[in-house]
């Protein structure tokens, strides 16, 4: 589907969506409360059919966090980027690990690195960080480690 058609279709699904200018692919901003329902329709709608989630990450903007999902369709070969702003003090968003299984590991990574809580995630534990690591989220911008920080 070409970008314009894609935008019309997505607006039908979720009228509150806003677009970001620039970037290689259409970039959508959505509210975190809409994510689960929206993700489900992105995956299961025949015309959209975004069945391949190839990148999940989080960005710390110092005032808020942003979850970024890169989605593509192996059938229609179109790609979109979905972003959702989260509160930095209490970041919470619904998990999509039952829709795209790859989200399981990626969300666990975002959980330990940024402290994002994925609601209803089946197994939200530390994946990369050692057991007993508490509180500090290393990928946040204000993380300081007196011993292991590398600066050039």
């Amino acid at each position: 589907m070409i970008t314009e058609e894609l935008k019309i279709k997505i607006n039908e699904l979720l009228p509150s969506v806003t677009y970001e200018e620039g970037g290689e692919w259409p970039t959508l901003n959505i509210e975190s409360k809409d994510w689960l329902r929206f993700a489900d329709s992105l995956r299961n709608d025949d015309q959209l059919f975004f069945n391949y989630l190839f990148c999940v990450t989080c960005v710390d903007w110092k005032t808020h966090l942003t979850m970024v999902y890169h989605l593509t369709s192996t059938k229609h070969r179109h790609t979109i980027v979905v972003k959702s702003k989260l509160d930095r003090n209490n970041p919470e968003i619904e998990t999509v690990s039952h829709i795209w299984r790859t989200a399981d590991f990626h969300e666990r990574e975002a959980y330990e690195m940024f402290g994002v809580k994925f609601l209803n995630h089946p197994d939200l534990r530390l994946l990369i960080l050692p057991d007993g690591w508490e509180g500090k989220n290393p990928m946040r911008k204000d993380f300081e480690d007196p011993v292991n920080m590398i600066r050039l």
């Binding site: 692919w25 190839f54 990148c55 192996t74 790859t102 399981d104 990369i128 050692p130 993380f143 590398i150």
Partner: protein, 378 residues
Amino acid sequence: MYRETEIIKDATAIDADGDLVINVGPQHPATHGVLHLVITLNGETIKKVEPHLGYIHRSIEKMCESLSYRQFIYVTSRMDYLSAHINNHACALCVEKGLQVEIPPRAQVIRVLMDELTRLASHELWWGAMAMDLGAFTPFFHAFRERETINDIMEETCGARLTMNYMVPGGVMADIHPNFQKRVKDFIQLYKSKIDEYDELVTGNIIFQNRMKGVGYLSTEDAISYGCTGPTARGSGVSCDIRKLYPYEVYSKVEFDEILEKGCDSFARYMVRIKEMQQSIRIIEQLIENIPEGDFQAKTKAVLKLPKGEFYSRVETARGEFGVYIISEGGMTPYRIKFRSPGFSNLSALDHMARGSKIGDLIAMMGTLDLVIPDIDR
């Protein structure tokens, strides 16, 4: 002494159901690195495989936030060290996307040649190591004989054998060595005379086939859902070769086939890699004869600054789709950088593949996933 036995007893605790929990790794030859798997067994049948990562986590993403756009590429060779060139390539592509630099044709061809040589070397190592996992020791020597030749070629041009750091934004760091073309041609001759040995030694072996066929079933839908890419997904019939779907550099001008197998099992994944090696040779043959003359590097500023925005580049490494996602605020260093590594997603499918099969087959499955642990941990 007795206290040590206490620790072991704790690690292999028997659950109320009568399940046995055993640890594979972090120091185990079959994991090819420091991967720790906690396996729940019922008799010999696997009930659950839980990977514990992080033994070689260096937080490369965080490190890159304080490195300039020229510096950060050197760190990325240390992720997937068997595809060092291709990792560097992805990062260089992403920076070039931001700078909007045109790459000279000579550099493009050299890059693709290096990528394909790397892919060959990586698959050679995988082939030998996987056969060794299954108890065959000889293939390892055969594979390393050819791999050494590639490493020698690399050494002559790049000065390094494993972490090359040869690609820079704008092209490649130095021109190829005068011997490069001749040695690559010699290598192709050598490889072609040896390739049949591979099939004789391993592929056609009935014991090998029995251990691979029907083991580690991963359906097409599951492969996509788990985000598997590269030969792992193509063994399940998912068309996902970035070189074909989103061609970069000169991949759109060369002829090669995307290898797809329908078997969905370990043997299908094995065959994809074996056939892919021949396709790499095909690409090299088309390019090696006429490398265009000209500059090997475009002119770029000494200090690179990317405009404000987001840049994503994806390439096909030996293990699958490698993505680099740079968020720039307009400064000299990236604000945030994310590496989408193929091994991380491929590993997440291991639990699903292994459930219900025997523990002996787990090694065959891990072998065909072609895991490189620093690539997973980053």
